[in-house]
Symmetry: C2
Subunit: 272 residues, 2 copies
């Protein structure tokens, strides 16, 4: 797929998998998506999803994905091992694990399914916000490398800013891959982990944090995602509770046209 | 543990596991918690959690639990197979599966951790609602048997009622085990699946549904849960999106005193 005319997008490089065996691939962490320690979790999750989507027994499209970050991922090579746990007529349950040095460092479960046309309603409300083109792009020299792979335009709730009186942990942010890339499940799964940890919004100081478990529900079909193209998507993220070393956060992810593409939830470790 | 003076609570009977081998138990579905087809998913998830909590290598307390319902659970015996996937200094990642006839019918991943005292803040708002004691208990003769193991007192968003104009899929409901039972992680995990499917609130007609994946984040420590005792807890549940055969729902679960005990999310299959 790679050729001189169209080199792989950095995200596609980061999640690239070389087949070793049936359901078993090798990959390498990407310096482009480096985080404070190891790679950005969004690419780790996207790589595990990529494994399931590359499996020759795949049925349907992603409906849900839960990624657990079991241990620090070291820079360098890893193996991805994927297997269908259960295949039904119209849905399938998946296991995917990332292994380094014989140890599981991250793993995921996923559900894929054939989507059908049914009654549709969106209950969450698409917010009234300025367009991405009317907002400045986020920049922060001290931010880790992965952030430079996203064009983020904050409506409010910027990193380490003044917390909003009414919604102190909320951010509303337009986001897209940078350089731009057509939206698909792999990139959307990574974007769902691109929200800064809510504790840095609610209490604007940096402390060590790490996502423990991340769950994303995909509401859009593949064609609908493709129709978003490389447009910005809007994320609305907030926390529910901080305490005893953990907090949770939830977000809705919208197309510019007001389609709810995904909802995503995570629980995050924090120090102090 | 069972004796004539204090017979096991029906929930403890439903999740009871007889050791077969290291990390391997046998259990039996409970008619008391029967659903339309097979057992109530809340007890299936609680049984998988019970497996992890019974494991002799357990470290800490539950922080997150994701249960996938891979296939219908048949009435009768099952095996539960549990193993730690990764043990860190203060946290642990778990795998648990329920097997019938050599096939996985449900599985879970979980994170347990040693909780530490840290900064605490709750951002979600505890709602201003009447007390459980001022509300009638939910009854519905046609409802499946499991519902009779819960004392539910709806503030609003009752099953198959008139949808609220502003919050058409929302329910606010006081809940507790019936007969009453001191709250712990096992019972809380089941209560987190006791919210009726939001599609029956938003569009009050019965269609076939089934939870596909359920994720719960536990915010309360074990002592805090124990201090709730057998009091009612308040659930606030709503959907974000229905379409293409699936919908999601999210809920906060509160103590009467306004402590956020858990947040819980699920994606549900529906027909039509």
């Amino acid at each position: 797929m790679k050729n001189k005319e169209s080199p792989l997008h950095p995200l596609d490089q980061a999640v690239a998998l070389q087949p070793i065996d049936q359901g078993r691939w090798q990959g390498t962490t990407s310096q482009t998506y480096a985080n404070m320690v190891g790679p950005f979790g969004g690419t780790t999750g996207a790589t595990l999803l990529q494994g399931a989507l590359s499996h020759n027994e795949l049925l349907g499209e992603p409906v849900s994905l839960t990624v657990n970050f079991a241990a620090p991922v070291a820079d360098g090579n890893f193996e991805v091992v994927v297997r269908p746990l259960r295949t039904n007529r119209n849905s399938q349950h998946w296991w995917a694990e990332m292994v380094q040095g014989g140890q599981v460092v991250a793993f995921a479960t996923a559900v894929t399914a054939r989507r059908r046309d049914t009654w549709e309603q969106t209950e969450a409300a698409f917010p009234d916000v300025p367009l991405a083109s009317d907002l400045p792009a986020f920049t922060r020299d001290a931010a880790p490398p992965w952030t430079r792979n996203y064009d983020m335009r904050f409506v409010d709730g910027e990193l380490l800013g003044e917390p909003d009186k009414d919604y102190p942990s909320r951010s509303r942010v337009w986001m897209r891959d940078q350089p731009s890339r057509p939206l698909d499940y792999v990139s959307l799964s990574a974007l769902c982990d691109a929200f800064f940890p809510r504790i840095y919004i609610r209490r604007p100081k940096l402390v060590p944090i790490g996502t423990v478990s991340l769950t994303t529900y995909f509401h859009a079909g593949g064609e609908q995602l493709a129709s978003v193209g490389s447009d910005h998507i809007l994320g609305v993220a907030r926390a529910n509770h901080f305490g005893k070393g953990f907090f949770d956060q939830s977000a809705e992810v919208w197309s510019r046209g007001g389609a709810l593409l995904a909802t995503t939830h995570q629980v995050v470790y924090f120090k102090e």
